[in-house]
Amino acid sequence: MTLKPSKGISRRKFMLLSACAAVGFGTMSIGKRFQALAASKDIIPLSDLGNRDVFTTCGMCVNKCGVIARVRNGVIEKLDPNPYFLKSRSMLCARGNAGVDSVYSPDRLKYPMIRTGQRGEGKFRRASWDEALDLVVKNLSDLAEKYGRAGTVFVSSEEFQEHFFTTFAECYGSPNTLRHPSLCLSSNIQGFGATFGTNPTPDVLNTDYIIMSGANRSEALITPDSIDMLTGSGGRRKLVYLDPRFTKTAAKADEWFPIRPGTDMAFILAMIHVIVKENLYDRKFVEEQTEGFDKLVPHIEAYSPEWAAAKCEIPAEDIRRIAREFAMAAPKAVYYQGRRSSFFDNDTQMRRAMAILNAIIGNWDKIGGMVPNSQIPLEGHEFVAPFYEDIPERLEANAATYLSEKDGSWKYFRDRVLEQKPYPVKGMMIYKQNPLVSVANREKTLKMMEQMEFICTIDITMNDTACYSDVLLPEATYLEREDPIESLGGIHPVLVWREPCIKPMYESRPNLWIMQELAKRMGDEMSASFNYTMQEYREHQVKNNPEILKALKEKGVYYEKDTPTYGQTIGKKLKTKSGKIEIFSQKYADKGLDPLPVYKHPESGPAGQYRLILGRTAYMTHGTTANNAFLFDIMSENHIWLHTSEAMKKGLKDGQMVKVKSPLTTESLRLLITEKIRPDCVYLSHGFGVLSKGQRLIFGKGGSDAALVEDFVEPISGNMAMHHTFVEVTAA
């Protein structure tokens, strides 16, 4: 915050001005709010460049909420929620409010840098853009010559300008792009996709009965679900929550069960058992719109609530009751699939079970049910990637049953890099991903990076991955960039974009500029794919409806209707092979997979050890925000949670330093003794225990989950399975 000029004086001038308030603003309709905003002169016209209010989109997490940036005297003073932005219900969370610090943080990457010391030592020298870009291109060309174009992996994560990065990868000719879904939700997408042909969105706002397992919506915020979870209509809403921890979602739930980790499928199969056996399913729907129900009936015979109770430690009578209540509430009932699903190695099948449970009560594409995502179509900007002969398949092709060709699988990919099979990968281009913090088994990631001949990172801060790179290219933050229009799908689809609030600080540049400059140096053919300005790009995106641009400029968001549309897929073929909801998956059977989910009990840990479970807080986004001054102010380290009874047995005291030892390594961090966790588990939140001294606030604080967690994998989707690690906890 040192770089931010004081704003106290201009503020105080406003104090004590005579009031003419439009109170109750927060509860007004959108239209009324608009009038009120205009009347109160709350929004300063764009013409005044020094002082203006910019409608843009938050970039602190994946939700992309609407933001009004208040720019005063050329400084972004405050980010306020955009009241027009329906998806986030005109809110901004702690991270959204803290976004200003991503611009003004002293730990930003300010200039292009070239490594001078050993990798990871953190010694760099400032370089000119020309020098840095030339060096990157020289290395990319050399690598292509030495190892072929597949010898460089392009690592990235979702961001409005990520498209340019993957475009670059495609034009460069590498099949190896490695994205985040295999650390997050790919098993979820796979399980629901195999059943419905798509991963639908639960209509949380309108549902009467939600069951969430491990989806901690009060802390892992997803808009609008986190909000709608609490504001549901009618007062008949019931929330059943399964989690080994008493999270802040548990505190809001009607019922919380500390389920044994990895046994959710037992609970779900038993619910299906009850619903099928007691004829509570939607017979008409099942007959008309699903495939393979007849095979489900004998399949679930053995999965009685009594059987499940022994597995998941939820009493049989509760399972039975919840199953009945759930079916009674149908179709306004959802078994919420959550988002991050990198839990266990049977995760895809567990999500399949969830999908089947949803299917048999007929909540598909109905109000309060499971609704397939809609999308406002945008025209793609056409480019033609050059075609290179003899490009091999992805490095980890065929490792997982169903691999996304764009996303890949971190687990399998990294293993094959280390084996150098079937071919070596010696170059790494990284955009906005921080694998040293986000990928389980940090030691392996370090080894993978060590064997790279060249690593270039494009990011905004000196995170761990940047620290282990050879060339650093500073990107402009989301508040300094002009971004393409993005179509956010969902029940209520919208279009958003980003407008720059201030000019990029220091020598940071938007990713498009960086990619254009690299492409220019790579040659004419590549350069042709980037032959446009951002403005032209946007115009191409909306060439069928230029009105969109106007709406975005005025309100920062565009949507076609005020209310969602349900039932668009009813009577139409789904994207499955059969065109119906596939309870029995022929496609899986063909691949030798279980066509119906078969329960697999998770292994128990060695005596005296605890299962390490991971999770989030509402004030941190993965490994990216812990060093934010505002958020650090709220949470300055992570603790290892241990149940009171276990701590008592071990004679450990609250707040003391403990050693957490996994088969991989030992991390030291502070102990939090609590009733809010199963006695056989410990919990650790994500994003601390960093290696880079360039993150000055959090360096030396807390412990790293990535270092502790073993890299098990879910073989159907290639998703990481991060809850198979057992740890010892001893006094430090």
Binding site: E158, S186, G197, I391, S404, N544
Partner: protein
């Protein structure tokens, strides 16, 4: 319990997809994409003259039929300009990215 059913369905599917699998085999999807983009797509967009078309416009089955059993003389005429191998590449690309392909959805 379902083992018989499984066996049966495996057999059925294997029989059904033998031809398909053989036909899809051998094409280079990446080359197909390049060829599709450079030769076909320019017209198969809005205002391009031809019907708007992308791989996800049709299911695997529909694409297979489109390429293998097409009797539409206009399309046959257009396709003739490609050598057999290239057509196979395009076919592979379209089928691998069909509406109901095994390609999972992605995030972000």
């Amino acid at each position: 319990m379902y083992r018989n059913g499984l066996l049966m369905s495996v057999l059925v599917v294997v029989c059904m997809s033998v031809g398909l699998a053989l036909a899809a085999d051998g094409g280079n999807s990446k080359k197909g994409k390049y060829l599709w983009k450079t030769n076909c797509k320019t017209c198969h967009v809005e205002g391009g003259g031809a019907s708007v078309l992308s791989p996800s416009s049709k299911t695997t089955k529909e694409w297979t039929e489109f390429f293998d059993k097409n009797t539409n003389p206009v399309i046959m005429e257009k396709c003739k300009k490609f050598p057999e191998a290239n057509l196979k590449d395009i076919r592979t690309y379209m089928i691998e990215h069909a509406k109901d392909s095994d390609q999972p959805e992605t995030c972000g």
